[in-house]
């Protein structure tokens, strides 16, 4: 609760500083784009966060985004231009691929006892390579076709809100209840907090860990789909690179502990929002955009130091 409040205050300060730096209240387009970005990257923060809470990690998010974003236009363009049913099929296919990838990660990690870091690092390489190989490095674009699908998933705002932002809100609702309200969410927290104690408590630990990986990679595939909706095409060698790191950074900024068992859905969204406000900040101040990752890294470090100092201050004698 305290953390949520702290993050909100920090976000507000950041926003105020931004307004002052620009000398005026930002316009609608600014907010629209900001909301779109927060919506898009927030999805990945959620998936990374869920895994981190259960004590896992996924480094392959970006590569899964790349692979699915490369595949989707290829599948769609095969038959789908006028066939709505086929379009739905194509999307389900891609989501299914994501689920399958997550399943593979989960099974390797739980049944073979491999380390999550290693398994998903291998995934990072494998899926990127696959994307480049399947597409033969050709960029496949949707052009201005599939307007209906794009409208549904990306282009049509809901009231004043960008579609991606609304999608994020829906997912926040769904996963907020899932993580904080249901049995399964509680089990994930327990597993992340002390896996052995969870096992002794009769929780089928493997099953829930696999579930977390499946959720994560499925959402990554979904992010890949949304990418195509926004950009019409994907660059097999590049699309999605580093997304996993931004996602993990946002989750950590939002209070997830990499030791597991800690974090909340709303604060993950706040973490994402902070990162994208920082992005706008660097633009406004005329800091070169190449430096964005440096700024994000510096803030993350400052946040970690601040938290540690607060912790010490609380437990020290006064």
């Amino acid at each position: 609760m305290k953390k949520l409040l702290g993050l909100t205050v920090f976000l507000a300060l950041l926003y105020a500083a931004l307004c002052i730096a620009r000398g005026q209240l930002p316009d609608y387009a600014f907010h629209y784009n900001l909301g779109r970005d927060i919506g898009y990257y927030g999805i990945m923060t959620l998936e990374a966060g869920i895994l981190i809470i259960s004590g896992g990690i996924d480094l392959s998010i970006g590569s899964v985004v790349g692979l699915t974003a490369t595949l989707l236009p290829m599948i769609l363009l095969a038959y789908g231009e006028t066939n709505a049913a086929y379009q739905v099929f194509a999307i389900c296919l891609v989501l299914g691929l994501g689920a399958l990838i997550g399943l593979a990660h989960g099974v390797l990690i739980t049944k073979l006892g491999l380390q999550p870091f290693v398994v998903t690092l291998c995934g990072l390489f494998i899926y990127r390579g696959l994307a480049r190989w399947i597409s033969e490095e050709q960029v496949m674009g949707l052009g201005n076709r599939f307007a209906q699908l794009k409208g549904l998933l990306y282009a049509d705002p809901v009231g004043p809100f960008p579609k991606f932002f609304v999608i994020l809100l829906i997912l926040v609702g769904v996963f907020g209840v899932f993580l904080h309200g249901t049995l399964y969410g509680r089990y994930l927290f327990a597993i992340g907090g002390n896996e052995r104690a969870a096992r002794y408590a009769g929780i089928a630990v493997d099953r829930y860990k696999i579930l977390a990986y499946v959720i994560c990679s499925t959402l990554a595939a979904f992010a890949g789909i949304l990418y195509v909706m926004q950009h019409n095409s994907a660059l097999p060698s590049n699309t999605g690179s580093f997304y996993e790191l931004y996602a993990i950074a946002a989750a950590v900024l939002g209070g997830c502990s990499l030791r597991g068992g800690e974090g909340t859905v709303p604060s993950m969204v706040l973490g994402t929002a902070i990162i994208w406000l920082l992005d706008r900040w660097t633009l406004t101040l005329g800091i070169r955009s190449e430096l964005l990752s440096t700024v994000v890294g510096a803030f993350l470090l400052a946040g970690a130091i601040l938290e540690e100092m607060l912790r010490r201050w609380q437990s020290e004698p006064r």
Binding site: V177, G181, T182, L183, Y184, R186, Y187, F189, A190, G193, N194, R196, A197, A198, R199, Y200, A201, G202, I203, A204, G261, E262, E316, P317
Partner: protein, 515 residues
């Protein structure tokens, strides 16, 4: 109650080595200590007793420099001192054996004993290493640590790990040795050995502060007893005043209730509930283990440390794979591959190691208590938090768990209250077969008695209970029958009339008895 006029042999002979005056310490929501004073003479064995959460460990942590007091002063040989951290206290010759184990799981025994103080020697690493093994061997022999010194401590039982902790503190060659419940997971034999060492140290002039909930031990070993209650001094007992009733009276602050006694009714119609047949649970086992538990029976498992009691329980519960054997509950065979299967069948285990297996330390008391019962607390997949809180409050009241509120991280509770939380998790439910592994470790006498009543009550409801305990009193007072284990084998079975200290010890050490 505080009597400064009281004189012990020590007070006559010398000035106090350590004097603590007016110490207070608060944690968020808890006043752990208020205005506590304590004296310790050279070579004295001072026992500090009190109920769970009375502030014993907090006071000791302050003496060892782990925590800083909010107020008060420590004098060492009359000079005011201030310990900013553990090294400060160690430099003054004060070492603390923590109630909770603080070992590095992957490091071996010798490495743990000398952690951070590896003998400073230049030269090849191998030489250095050999030296710590040589030195560690001395302590190991003294304490009876039988495992090879190269064993990683994570492979040791809790009791053996406790011995490693003691060796670590002994090696600090201190003037004051503080032991916070050192015997809570030791068997009578290891305890006896520890007492010899304590007496030896005391003769060499080392002062000992000894904390325990096993009041009979305190009776045996202490020169003086200081009692804490609710974070304050509750009184002091000189050597000739020390007895069980007097200690309990000071601890509880009123006349003691009748201590719980189990009534061993003559078994009516004996109906077998549990059959374990031909169980092999480790490779070197000569003979498979078979036993039966009747409905409503408490079957004890006695044995020395490392005799395989915990492994037996963990195998039944599906944590370790079994090599062969069947388990029948009622008439049906249950196949157990994991704790999940065991729990589905109504078999519950209360584990020995609360930190590793029993609790999620960062999570709240409430969530820890409800974890195994969550399925019954949900509707449409959603956890009914109100019901959850009701359950948690019920167990808190039932077991007298001291916590400022339901959301307190369980890792911040006192050791005994953590143990109560582990018990509460499982006693909230209705098992068919309950496996208990050292259930009352670190729990104060008052609550122990309540837990015995609970166990008896479960037995009356027809639950089969398998109880592993290193506390002889517990085995004697609760069990209808006792299995004795020796080096991973079943050494024998004792019916109620045959349960005595001598028979148990004979079997536990590989001897034979004639029934």
């Amino acid at each position: 109650m505080m009597s400064d006029t009281q004189t012990t042999d020590f007070a006559k002979s010398s000035a106090p080595l350590l004097q603590v005056v007016g110490i207070s310490k608060a944690f968020p929501g808890v006043q752990a200590l208020s205005n506590v004073s304590l004296r310790l003479y050279p070579g004295e064995i001072l026992a500090v007793v009190g109920e769970n959460g009375a502030g014993k460990s907090t006071l000791m942590k302050i003496l060892a420099g782990v925590l800083q007091p909010d107020a008060g002063q420590i004098y060492l040989q009359g000079h005011p001192v201030r310990f900013r951290h553990v090294e400060d206290a160690q430099r003054h010759g004060i070492a603390l054996i923590h109630q909770e184990l603080n070992l590095v799981p992957n490091l071996d025994i010798a490495g743990n004993i000398f952690l951070g103080r590896e003998p400073a020697q230049l030269g090849p690493i191998r030489w250095l290493a050999r030296d710590i093994y040589r030195q560690a061997a001395l302590y190991a022999q003294q304490l009876g640590i039988q495992a090879p010194l190269t064993t990683p401590v994570k492979n040791l039982s809790v009791g053996q790990q406790q011995l490693v902790e003691i060796a670590k503190a002994l090696s600090l060659a201190s003037r004051i040795l503080i032991m916070d419940e050192p015997t809570s997971s030791l068997t009578p034999r290891e305890t006896e050995r520890l007492f010899q060492i304590i007496r030896q140290l005391s003769q060499q002039g080392v002062s000992i502060i000894y904390i325990s909930h096993r009041l009979r031990e305190v009776d045996q070993i202490a020169d003086r007893v200081s009692v804490l209650r609710d974070g304050g001094n509750a009184g002091e007992l000189a050597k000739d005043q020390i007895n069980y009733e007097a200690m309990v009276r000071l601890m509880v602050g009123r006349e003691l209730k009748q201590f719980y006694q189990r009534h061993f009714a003559a078994p009516v119609a004996k109906e077998a509930l549990v059959h374990v047949t031909n169980l092999r649970f480790h490779l070197h086992q000569q003979r498979p283990i078979s036993f039966t538990i009747y409905r409503g029976e408490v079957l004890g498992v006695a044995g020395l440390m490392g005799s395989g009691r915990t492994r037996l329980l963990e195998t039944i519960f599906g944590i370790r794979p079994k090599i062969s054997g069947q388990i029948y509950l009622g008439q049906r065979e249950v196949r157990i591959q994991s704790p999940y299967d065991a729990i589905q069948a109504g078999i519950y285990l209360i584990p020995e190691d609360r930190k590793c297996h029993g609790l999620i330390l960062e999570d709240s008391v409430c969530h820890n208590l409800s974890l195994p019962s969550l399925r019954e607390l949900t509707r449409y997949w959603l956890i009914r938090t109100r019901q959850e809180k009701i359950l948690a409050r019920r167990m808190i009241a039932h077991l007298n768990i001291r916590t400022p509120h339901l959301d307190q991280p369980v890792g911040l509770l006192s050791g005994g209250n953590q143990q109560k939380t582990v018990l509460g998790k499982w006693l909230a439910r209705r098992p068919r077969w309950l496996l208990l592994d050292e259930p009352t470790r670190g729990i104060d006498v008052h609550t122990k008695s309540e837990i015995y009543a609970l166990i008896d009550n479960l037995a009356h409801q027809g639950v089969a209970i398998l109880l592993v305990s290193s506390e002889l009193e517990e085995i004697l007072g609760l069990c209808d029958r006792v299995l004795v284990m020796h080096q991973g084998e079943l050494a024998g079975e004792l019916p109620r009339p045959q349960i005595h200290e001598e028979t148990i010890m004979r079997l536990a050490t590989g001897g034979k008895i004639s029934l």
